[in-house]
């Protein structure tokens, strides 16, 4: 308490205190963020974290580019096509229509920025330098929209050619109209071929001198004021002959939004084509494959954490960007909170770090629950060694780290195999997506769950061609796995496939044999026939098809694989090094509830202030609490309308409760102006927070804005 600076203010709130320069110096170094003073490898952890984050960023960008490639390419194709379509065609005059691409991006608006950025870059590189992207926020009126357009285009003109600077400045000063833009466009396109040799080369390739289109990207079509859009389109359509406009509407909902927004007279000026981008769930799946279901990426998430992150994605925002942010946050938390996370890196590096573990960290390893479990399974002599000798712990640690890496290398291929097998089954007993399977695998022993049993049951009645196809898929997956054991498994799988295929001849032969028997008995009477049929039926039930035998072998084999490789991660010794598991923290940080925290702050001030004197029992109002808290608690007891005078009296009663014992009974119930002022201030703060508001229904009353009361 003595350390905290004191303010002169009566109210509670956030105050800025400039720290002394001495304190600040400690936090200057970049690597210093994770330095705890107690351990020495903070900078190492910071470095590892940084490196991992870079790989994450790089990978997500690559994935985004790959996924968007198709739709972006077709967009560019569309623009080029219309570009060529502008060639003089005497007979028809369709050119008054503005080519428009409706780009369907889905409701995950935070992810759109990246798509638009790559779209802009792509267009500028391959089609036209005149690309403008506008946001609804900046364009509340047509004037602003045109201004934005001119600003972005002519600014570019300046960068292309220095001479033009005075010219554009003049234009901007005088007029902000499309006709001014027209003038500018004419001068620029005259010069442009000489300016950029790259474009010139492009032109030569196509052997067709064409005009460069002006692409206008409306990033969030829905948010635009429809009147602004209509006017803008009307104005632009007047100039299509001179200025080849192309619009791109970034649409989050559905293309019918265009029809809702624009009347027929305006939409008839557009030539709209729809482009569908990939759904965000597919995007998430590929990010998941790349970052989480990957043995190369040392940082892992526990099942609970995955559930929290995926839950936020599916229930709240559909934003892959936010998912990656969540991953980044958990990485930071892990490397910050877990000193042993220094071992969470590539195998070679990790082994090196394991060799040079400090004594403190060795002690930390001894306290890891997974390590303790491991110790318990060892021989007594070994146990003693592990508990006493630091060197021995380091050696064991290296061994265990190797095992952990091996576990991961074997885990993912087998997981994928199992998924490819079970994704064939009706109703997806083990989950439709591989992430669901992954979560249940690392959480508990998969083979003990009911879902696994039912999946296995369904696998046991799989038809042959399906089974072969699934096994072939597995073989494909296993081929990419490098470890020896996986190669072994691959061999076995291939062996099974071979045997299954060899079965083909056998079964067909047998069926023809049956046919022959039937042929022979055709001439016999009905009774005879029935008898033979029954006999055959009984024989068939007794005799097991060779395929069925083989199939059960295959299933047994898969089951053994699952039991061997898909063990829960928690059981692996040293799993805490790689796995981040505090889902509660993550949920609290990423899925915040401002209302709850305000209410906690008001009703339990101790929770945030950590001041011993504020600890209270539930249901009582302590006079030591801040005024705002007292006022808040008192207001909870009132109905929809609160009488200010009653409220004040209650407040004063609480305030003077402490003084009451020794004070005069005369003074009880009286209040001085100081208390009055404090009360007024607290009430206005409560009003500011949105709990009460003034009302005209009754004099000297305020209305409650929250639920509760009567």
């Amino acid at each position: 308490m003595s350390e905290t600076p004191v303010t002169s203010s009566v109210s509670k709130g956030c105050f800025v205190f400039k720290s002394t320069s001495k304190k600040r110096k400690r936090h200057v170094g970049v690597g210093g963020y994770l330095v705890d003073g107690s351990d020495d490898n903070g900078s190492d952890r910071f470095r590892i974290c940084q490196k991992l984050w870079e790989t994450v960023q790089m990978n997500t960008e690559v994935i985004q580019d790959q996924l968007n490639k198709h739709v972006l390419d077709s967009l560019v194709e569309f623009i080029k096509k219309h570009d060529l379509g502008n060639s003089p065609d005497v007979w028809r005059q369709r050119s008054s229509e503005i080519p428009t691409a409706a780009l369907m991006l889905g409701v995950n608006v935070p992810d759109h920025a990246m798509t638009f950025r790559s779209l802009c870059n792509l267009l500028q590189d391959s089609v036209t330098p005149f690309v403008v992207s506008v946001h609804a926020k900046e364009c509340a009126a047509v004037k602003l929209l045109i201004h934005k357009l001119l600003e972005q285009l002519m600014g570019k003109g300046v960068s292309v050619d220095e001479e033009q600077e005075d010219e554009t400045a003049l234009l901007q000063r005088t007029q902000c109209t499309i006709s001014a833009l027209c003038q500018w466009y004419k001068t620029v396109t005259k010069k442009c071929p000489q300016v950029s040799p790259q474009r010139k080369a492009n032109l030569k390739n196509n052997d067709l001198p064409r005009s460069l289109p002006v692409v206008v990207i409306f990033k969030d079509f829905e948010a635009f004021n429809s009147q602004v859009l209509q006017d803008f389109i009307l104005i632009c359509s007047r100039y299509t002959q001179e200025l080849p406009f192309i619009f791109i509407f970034g649409i989050a909902t559905s293309p019918s939004a265009i029809q809702h927004r624009l009347p027929h007279s305006v939409s008839s000026l557009l030539c709209i084509e729809v482009f569908q981008s990939l759904s965000c769930t597919q995007h998430l799946a590929s990010v998941f494959d790349k970052l989480i279901l990957n043995s190369q990426f040392p940082f892992k998430l526990s099942s609970r954490v995955i559930q929290v992150l995926v839950g936020i994605f599916l229930y709240h925002d559909f934003s892959v960007q936010n998912f990656v942010k969540g991953l980044q946050f958990s990485m930071l938390e892990h490397f910050n909170g877990q000193p042993l996370s220094v071992l969470c890196c590539q195998k070679k590096e990790a082994l090196l770090f394991a060799k040079t573990l400090s004594q403190k960290n060795v002690e930390r390893i001894r306290h890891l629950p997974s390590f303790m479990r491991y110790v318990e399974t060892q021989e007594p002599q070994e146990q003693v060694q592990l508990l006493t000798s630091d060197e021995h712990v380091k050696d064991t640690c290296q061994k265990l780290l190797k095992n952990l890496h091996k576990y991961h290398k074997n885990y993912y291929p087998i997981l994928q195999c199992l998924h490819s097998l079970t994704s064939l089954l009706p109703k997806f007993p083990l989950g439709k997506h591989i992430r669901e399977l992954h979560v249940s695998c690392i959480e508990k022993n998969l083979w003990e769950t009911e879902e696994y049993d039912s999946a296995m049951q369904l696998l046991r009645i799989l038809a042959k061609d399906e089974l072969v196809a699934a096994l072939e898929k597995c073989a494909e997956i296993l081929k990419s796995a490098k470890t020896k054991r996986m190669q072994n498994v691959l061999q076995q799988v291939e062996d099974f496939i071979g045997r299954l295929e060899a079965l083909e001849g056998v079964t067909s032969e047998e069926s023809t044999g049956d046919g022959v028997i039937l042929e022979k008995n055709r001439r016999t009477d009905l009774f005879q026939l029935q008898k033979t049929l029954l006999e055959k039926e009984s024989r068939r039930t007794k005799r097991v098809n060779p395929y069925e035998v083989l199939r059960s072998q295959v299933i047994e084999f898969i089951d053994s694989l699952v039991r061997e490789y898909l063990t829960p991660a928690e059981l692996q010794p040293l799993s805490e090094v790689c796995y981040y598991s505090s889902s509660a923290v993550l949920r609290q940080r990423l899925n915040v509830s401002p209302r709850t925290s305000i209410q906690t702050a008001l009703s339990h001030p101790f929770h945030y202030l950590q001041n011993e004197s504020l600890k209270t029992n539930a249901g009582t109002i302590s006079s030591a609490a801040p005024d705002l808290c007292i006022v808040y608690k008192l207001h909870l007891e009132c109905g929809r309308l609160i009488n200010l005078y009653d409220w004040l009296e209650a407040f004063v009663t609480v305030m003077s409760a402490a003084e009451d014992q020794d004070a005069d009974s005369e003074e009880k119930g009286k209040f001085d102006s100081l208390k009055h002022a404090r009360f007024i201030q607290a009430v206005s703060e409560l009003e500011f927070l949105g709990f009460v508001k003034s009302t005209k229904q009754k004099t000297d009353h305020v209305a409650r804005l929250t639920w509760g009361g009567c």
């Binding site: 409701v107 608006v109 009126a141 809702h260 965000c280 599916l314 925002d317 899925n591 804005l705």
Partner: protein, 444 residues
């Protein structure tokens, strides 16, 4: 026809070619010309021309101006986001860009009048100057004094100038309540069917006979005349579908005289065009592509076919809750969302005035509290009132699935309306297996 076109002061052959270039607008042309008088005579200060879309208003006026080489300034009022732009365009058209540059930064009407006077005194008008204001209805949104001033601009600037206003709506909607100079009203009637045929037959394809094209236009109008009389649209459609019409001729399956055969070929095609390309469900580019591909079976998916929207789980429930709040009377919430709602007799419960379908009346506004209360009772799991739930509401507003109503006081219970259709909400609730109909008062 050109006999009637005799206006002193204009060269006769130009007048004749003018009459040829403006078919079906002879009467309008003659009366306009007589109204304008000889070039050096003062004309009526302001003329108001009205008529539906694509009835040739601006085309006729601008062709007259261009062909007779009269000094004119043509301004589209959509472009004039401020009065200053209008003044600028007028001045630069009459006196060159240098004069326009003299305008101050935010020119007022008096600045314009002063400059105009100054300029016209140095270069007085030898011919009547015309200011043509297209889409004049936009003028009403500009400065209220602009329209009355322009109507009597001739008086104000003391120059031979006439203002021609072109609009799709009638003058009664323009008249300011303070009164103003009444312009001369002039109506352009819609084209009749015969006139449309005559005009459309003009742009016949060079490689086919005009008769064939005329018969094509007749077929086209037979299909489209009942829904569309917009010349521009019809022309667009004629161009788009002509290649399909000619297809049997190209293939040699029919001769030009086999009108019936050609009609049988094109008629279903045109009907399909009415449902797709005319409504801009399919772009004209795609339509042509489809014609070339010759695949009848592959029907292009129109814009409204992509109605499905993927939403996060809670957003779906928020939308459903908003729909319920919008279309159920607030009084009935107790019955739908409370487990023990007590005994509410159905006869009492259904009030008479509420029997009219709420769906016919449209969505009603509801406060945020009600939305959240319904949301918490329809969603099957416990949901914490986190920030992301609230941000989802605002993102639904930006996606225009909800719309915010009334005042912008955000702190004090904002009100919303649900802006989606019943079909949409049925589709959404099906994906989360929620039976929305059971909760709707109208379907009780």
């Amino acid at each position: 026809m050109s006999v009637t076109l005799q206006c002193p002061g204009y060269p006769e052959d130009t007048l004749r070619s003018l009459a040829d270039r403006l078919p079906c607008r002879e009467t309008q042309l003659t009366s306009l010309l007589s109204l304008m008088g000889q070039p050096d005579q003062y004309s009526y200060p302001s003329v108001f021309i009205y008529g539906h879309r694509a009835t040739g208003k601006s085309h006729v006026v601008l062709t007259i101006m261009k062909d007779l080489e009269l000094p004119h300034a043509s301004v589209d009022c959509v472009e004039c986001v401020s009065g200053g732009l209008l003044f600028h365009q007028v001045l630069s058209a009459f006196f060159g860009p240098d004069a326009a540059a003299l305008l101050p930064r935010c020119p007022s009407l008096s600045d314009f009048v002063r400059l105009y006077k100054q300029m016209s005194s140095s270069t007085p008008a030898t011919q009547t100057r015309y200011i043509i204001l297209d889409r004049a209805e936009r003028m009403r949104d500009m400065d209220f004094s602009l329209l009355p001033a322009l109507l009597r601009l001739q008086e104000l600037v003391n120059d031979n100038v006439t203002v021609i206003l072109l609009s799709e709506i009638v003058w009664e909607k323009f008249r300011p309540n303070t009164g103003c100079f009444e312009p001369l009203l002039f109506h352009f009637p819609d084209y009749s069917k015969a006139e449309l045929v005559q005009i459309l037959s003009w742009d016949h394809h060079p490689s086919y006979t005009p008769e064939l094209y005329a018969s094509y236009i007749n077929i086209l109008l037979g299909v489209f005349f009942s829904v569309c009389r917009d010349l521009r649209e019809l022309r667009h459609l004629a161009v788009l579908n002509f290649s399909k019409f000619c297809e049997p001729l190209e293939k040699g399956e029919a001769k030009e005289s086999d009108i019936h055969k050609l009609w049988k070929n094109i008629e279903p095609h045109l009907h399909r065009a009415m449902q797709t390309v005319y409504l801009r469900e399919v772009s004209s580019m795609q339509w042509e592509q489809q014609q070339m591909d010759e695949k009848e079976a592959t029907t292009l998916r129109g814009l409204s076919a992509h109605a499905h929207i993927e939403l996060p789980y809670y957003s779906k429930f928020l939308l459903i809750a908003a729909y319920l709040a919008s279309f159920n009377p607030a009084r009935t919430d107790r019955r739908f969302f409370l487990k023990n709602h007590g005994k509410i007799r159905k006869t009492n419960f259904l009030k008479k005035h509420e029997k009219t379908s709420n769906h016919l009346l449209g969505p009603k506004p509801f406060p945020l509290d009600r939305l959240l209360a319904i949301f918490y009772s329809v969603v099957d799991s416990r949901v914490a009132p986190t920030a992301s739930v609230f941000s989802q509401i605002s993102s639904l507003v930006t996606l225009q699935l909800l719309s915010q109503v009334g005042h912008d006081d955000q702190l004090d219970s904002p009100k919303y309306k649900c802006a989606v259709s019943l079909d949409f909400i049925l589709a959404i609730s099906r994906t989360v297996s929620f039976d929305v109909v059971r909760y709707l008062y109208d379907f009780l």
